[in-house]
Symmetry: C3
Subunit: 420 residues, 3 copies
C-alpha cells in the first residue's frame, strides 16, 4: 500500500482530467474488474453541473532578474487548482492578491482550489512570501479548461445476497499523502482481500471518485439501487498515519454502519476519538444528505481538519507509513467481518444446555473455576433470538468475531440455530 | 412596566374584592379588548366553591396607653388575608396566638392568608413582637365577608390558526412586587407586543386571575376549548428581579412549552436553574393536574420559595427593576418567536445544493475557510423533513430565530420547502 | 431462622440423597402444606438427565502410621461431592492429583463437587497439604451412586388473583451457612408470614430445590403455568450476613421484579451494590434462560463469588447472624408488600382537590408551611391513571408502602379511584 501511494504521489490530480485518469488506470491494473466511467462535462447531476476538464502544462513566477522563484514543477500545490491561464507582469501589490500562504506554518505550502469560479493564484510558503521585494513579477500559468469528462472507478463484487456493503474514497487530491492517497490504496487492498474471500455473504460496491462532484455524480446515476441494497457504507479518507484513530458518525449515528464501527473500535482501539456528524467534511456529507439518507459513516486515523498538516505540503509521504495503512486496513477488515458474521441466534433447548456432557464445560466445580467458559455462557444467556451479535457483543463485552467462533462450536453441537 | 407595577403596589389585592377589580381595570386601560369576568361567590368550580368577597376598611392593634402599634394602613400585609372582623381587648398571651412573625428575618412582615377557614390575625416584624410587654391590647379589624363575585381578566388575540399559545398570571397578592406584580405587568407588555405583531401564526389567550381559585374557575369554564387548542402555555410569576433565571418543568417535562423554554434559555441564559415539577408552586399545579393535562410550564427570575424575601414585606419595589422586568419580557418574546417560527423544512434537491453558484458559499476552498457558512450547511444536513426547528436547534447549536432567518434565505433561493 | 440454620448446618446435603430429604422434612414440619416431590433419577429434564443418588457413609485419609489425617466426619467438605468409592494405598504424588486446597486461604477447606463425571477427591486446608510428607497414604471413601430420586419442596399459597409471586432457594449445599442455609430459612419465614397474611392479592409459589438440576427439573414440569402466572420472582441465596446488600439484575433488568427490588433497596439501603446479569451465578441463570424468560432477579447480602469465605469451610455459622437474616427478611417483606400494593390511581376531580375542606391540608397559608403535605400533593399531581406506584415512587421519592397509606386516606375521602 505504501509503495503504491509513493508511486502515485507526484501525479497532479484534480476533480477531472488526466491526473485522475492516470491514477484510476494504475488502480485498475491491480483489480482488472474495476470499470472506469467517463461522464461528459456539462452534465447536470442533481443540483450541480460537471465542470470542464482542467489541464496544466506549466506554471511559475519569475522575478525581474529572471529567476524562477515559484515553480509548479517543484510542487503541484504551488498553483491554485483550476487556475485559469495567465502570462503577465504584475506588481508585488497585485501579485499579493493572488498569493495564498499560512502565517501559522510559514514553511508549508497550502492547498487551495477554485473549481466553480474562474481565478488564478499561487500557493507559497509564508516565509518566502515575506521575503519578496517590491518590483515586477512575471506570472505564467499554462492551463486549459475544456469540454471532456469526469472519471471514476467502480467495482462490484457479488456475494450470496444482493444486499451490499459500500466503500467510497476519492482520487482528486494532488500531491498529498494522508489526504488523500491513503484512502485509495487502503480501499484497493480491501477490494483485493474481499475478491479472495469466496465465503462472503454480502455483495460489495467500491468507488473511487472525485470528492463532492464525483460522489454526487455517482449518486445521481445509482441512487435508487443504492437505497435498496446498501446496508452499511464507509467513506475512506485519512487512513494512513499512526496517530489518532477516529470515527465520524452518520447523520443520526444510529445506522448499522455506525454500530459496526463503534463496536469494532471499542475492542481494537478503545481510546478512539468519536466525532459527531457536525464534524463531517468529506463525502459522508453527500451520502447522508436529505433525500439520499444512506447508512454511511467513516473511520479515519488522524481526521481531516484535525491535524496541522491537513491540506498543506506537509501532508507528504513521511506523514503516512506502512504500519499506519495496515492499521486502518485491519480495522476495516474487522468491521467487514463483523458485518458478515452479524446475525441472530437462538438456543435450541430450554434452560442452560448441559455443556459438560459435550466437553464444553469443566466437569468439576471448583472455587471460581467457571471463568474460562464465561464468554460462552454469557452468549448463551442472551441467545434468545431477539438480539443481534452487535447487541450481544456490546452487552457482554466480547467481539463479534469471537462470538461467531463460539456460535460455530455451538451450532456443531446442535445447541444453536440461526434465526432468519 | 416598572412604573405601572409601582402604581399598583399599594392596592390591597386578594382572591376576590375591590383590590383585584381596581388592578384589572387599570390593566384594561392599556388593552381595552380585555374582558373582565365576574363569577358569583358560592359557585361550584370543580372540587371547590368560590368564597365570599372580603373587604377591609381598617385594622390596627392599640396598646393600653392608646398607642397604635400595628397599623394596616402602614402596610396591608399586617393583616392575615381574609381575617374576620374583631373589636376586643385581649391579653398578650391571647394576642400571641394570633400573631405571625419570622424569627429568621426579624425586620420583615410575613404574608399570611386564611381563605378557607374563619380566622383573624396580624403579621408583624419579629423584633416588634419580641418587644411587646405584658398587658392588654385592643385588636380591631374592620372587615366584611359577603356575597359578591370573583373577578378575572381575559384577552384573546386571534391568529391565522386557532391553535393557541396561553399565558397566565395572577392578581391576588397585596403589596408585594416580584410575587406578584411582575407577572401582571410583563404579561400586559407581551399582550401589547403581540397585538402589534400582525404576522402571528397562532392565536393567544391571556388571563389575569386569582391564584388557585381563579385558575380553577377559569378552567372549569374553558377546559374543553383549552385542551383542544392550546399547544404551549406559561405561568408568569416572579419575573421582575435581576438575580437567577429559572425554569419550572411541566408534569412530565416533555411538552412543546418545555422544549421551547429550555431551548431558548440554553442560548440566552445557559446558566439558568432547572427545577423539576416537584418544585412547582403556582398555577402550573392546576394546568398540569390529572384530567387537565395542559402543556404549561414556567420561566421565572428568582423563583417563588427560592429567595429569602418571598412572601414577606421585603418583596417590595426595590427587589424588582426595569432591567429585570425587561429581561423576562425578552425571554418570553424569544420563546414566542421560536414557537411561531417552529416548523419542519425539507431541502428541494438530492445531495448538498450548490450554494456557491447562488452566492451563498465561498467559491475558493482554503484551509478551514468554510467556517462562516457552517450554520447553514448544518441546517441543510438535517433539513430532511423529519425534524422540527427545536430538534435541529438543539442538535446543531443554533437558535431557532437564527434558523428561521436562514430558512427564509433558502426558501427565497428555492432550495427549501416547508413540510406541512 | 438462625436456630434452624444451626440445626441443619451439620447435615451433608447434595443435589440428591438423604441429606436433602432430611432438610426438606425439617422445613415441612414448619409448613405442613409444603409437598415433597420425588423425581426418579435418569429422568430427562430438558437438556439434562437427573443423576444417580449419592450416599456417603464415611471417608478419610490414613497415613503410613495409621493416623487419620483427613476425616469426613470432622467436616463434610473434606470429600469432593459425588466422589466415587475407593479403598487404596497411593503415593503422595498420586494423592496430590486428588487433593484440592486454596493457597490464598491456607486454613480453609474448599467446597468442590463433580456431579457429572466420575471422580474421587479430598478437599483440605492448604497448610495441611503442604505439611504432608512423602510416603504412602490410605484413601477410603465409602460412597454409593445408585438409582433413586431427586427431591424438592413446593408450597403454593393461593391469593385473590391466580397471578403469582415466585420465590426459589436451594437445599443442595453441605455445611455452609450463608451459601446456603440462609436462603432456605429466610424463605421459610417469608412463607409463614404470607400464610398468616390473609389479605394477600397475589398467589405465592415457593420452591426449595437443588441448584441448577433442581431448578431445571422444576421448570421442565411447570414452565407453561409459570410463564402464564408469575409476575415477579426472586432467587434467595446468600441472605444471612450483615455486610453488603446486593442486587443481581434479571437478563434485561426491566422486569417488575427488578423494579420492585431496586425501588425498595433505594429507600431501605441506598448504598446497595447493583450487579449486572453478567455477574449472575445461581438459579436466576435458569429462570432467565432463553425460552424460559421468567421475571426473576435476586437480592442478596454479601453475594456469592464476592466474599472471600464463599464456597469454603469459613462460610460457617459465625458468618451469618440473626440480625443479618432478619435484615434480608425485612427487605423481601417490603418488596412483597410493594408488589401487593402496586396499582394505578386516578384523582376523581379536575384540578387539585380542596384538601383543606376535608381536614387534609393546613387552612392557613404561611411561609413554606405546606411542606408537611408535600408527599400527598406530589402523589395527587401524578395520579393521572397512567403511572403505577413504582413509577410515582421513583419520581417523587416516597416509598410505595407510604403511597399505599396515602391512597387509602384519599380513597376514604372519595378523592381517589383505583384504575383497573
Amino acid at each position: 500500500m505504501y509503495k503504491l501511494a509513493g508511486e502515485l504521489f507526484p501525479v497532479c490530480r484534480s476533480i477531472t482530467g488526466e491526473g485522475t485518469r492516470t491514477t484510476l488506470r494504475r488502480i485498475q491494473k491491480e483489480i482488472p474488474h474495476m470499470i472506469i466511467h467517463e461522464i461528459p462535462t456539462g452534465t447536470k447531476v442533481f443540483d450541480w453541473t460537471i465542470p470542464n476538464e482542467w489541464e496544466i502544462e506549466d506554471a511559475y513566477i519569475e522575478d525581474a532578474d529572471g529567476n524562477i522563484i515559484v515553480d509548479f514543477k517543484q510542487n503541484n500545490l504551488h498553483v491554485v487548482g483550476y487556475s485559469s491561464p495567465i502570462d503577465e507582469w504584475v506588481s508585488l501589490e497585485e501579485l499579493n492578491k493572488h498569493l495564498y500562504s499560512l502565517p501559522e506554518y510559514p514553511d508549508w505550502i497550502p492547498y487551495v482550489t477554485s473549481y466553480y469560479k474562474e481565478r488564478w493564484g499561487f500557493c507559497v510558503a509564508h516565509n518566502q512570501r515575506m521575503s519578496l521585494k517590491d518590483g515586477q513579477y512575471h506570472v505564467i500559468i499554462k492551463s486549459k479548461l475544456f469540454e471532456g469528462s469526469l472519471s471514476y472507478g467502480e467495482l462490484l463484487i457479488p456475494g450470496k445476497s444482493n444486499k451490499e456493503i459500500f466503500l467510497s474514497t476519492y482520487v482528486c487530491h494532488p500531491s498529498m499523502a494522508n489526504n488523500e492517497l491513503s484512502g485509495p490504496v487502503v480501499q484497493l487492498e480491501l477490494a483485493k482481500w474481499i475478491q479472495n474471500n469466496k465465503e462472503r455473504k454480502y455483495s460489495y460496491r467500491f468507488i473511487w471518485v472525485a470528492e463532492t462532484i464525483g460522489a454526487i455524480t455517482y449518486l445521481s446515476r445509482n441512487l435508487d439501487t443504492m437505497k435498496e441494497r446498501i446496508i452499511a457504507g464507509y467513506n475512506l479518507t485519512c487512513v494512513g498515519d499512526e496517530r489518532a484513530v477516529s470515527y465520524v458518525s452518520s447523520k443520526y449515528g444510529n445506522t448499522l454502519a455506525d454500530q459496526a464501527a463503534r463496536n469494532v473500535l471499542h475492542f481494537m482501539y478503545p481510546e478512539y476519538i468519536s466525532y459527531d456528524f457536525l464534524h463531517r467534511g468529506s463525502d459522508e456529507r453527500q451520502y447522508n444528505a436529505p433525500g439520499v439518507e444512506l447508512p454511511v459513516c467513516s473511520v479515519c486515523c488522524s481526521k481531516y481538519h484535525e491535524y496541522p498538516e491537513y491540506h498543506t505540503s506537509a501532508d507528504d509521504m513521511s506523514l503516512i507509513s506502512p504500519k499506519g495503512l495496515q492499521r486502518a486496513f485491519d480495522i476495516y477488515k474487522e468491521i467487514i467481518m463483523s458485518l458478515e458474521y452479524n446475525t441472530k441466534y437462538k438456543v435450541n433447548c430450554y434452560c442452560e444446555p448441559q455443556l459438560g456432557a459435550r466437553g464444553l464445560y469443566p466437569t468439576e466445580s471448583f472455587h471460581r473455576s467457571s471463568v474460562t467458559v464465561k464468554d460462552m455462557m454469557d452468549f448463551i444467556a442472551y441467545a434468545d433470538g431477539t438480539q443481534d451479535l452487535f447487541q450481544i457483543s456490546n452487552r457482554i463485552g466480547v467481539p463479534v468475531t469471537r462470538l461467531h467462533e463460539i456460535a460455530q462450536t455451538l451450532m456443531a453441537a446442535d445447541l444453536f440455530s440461526e434465526v432468519k
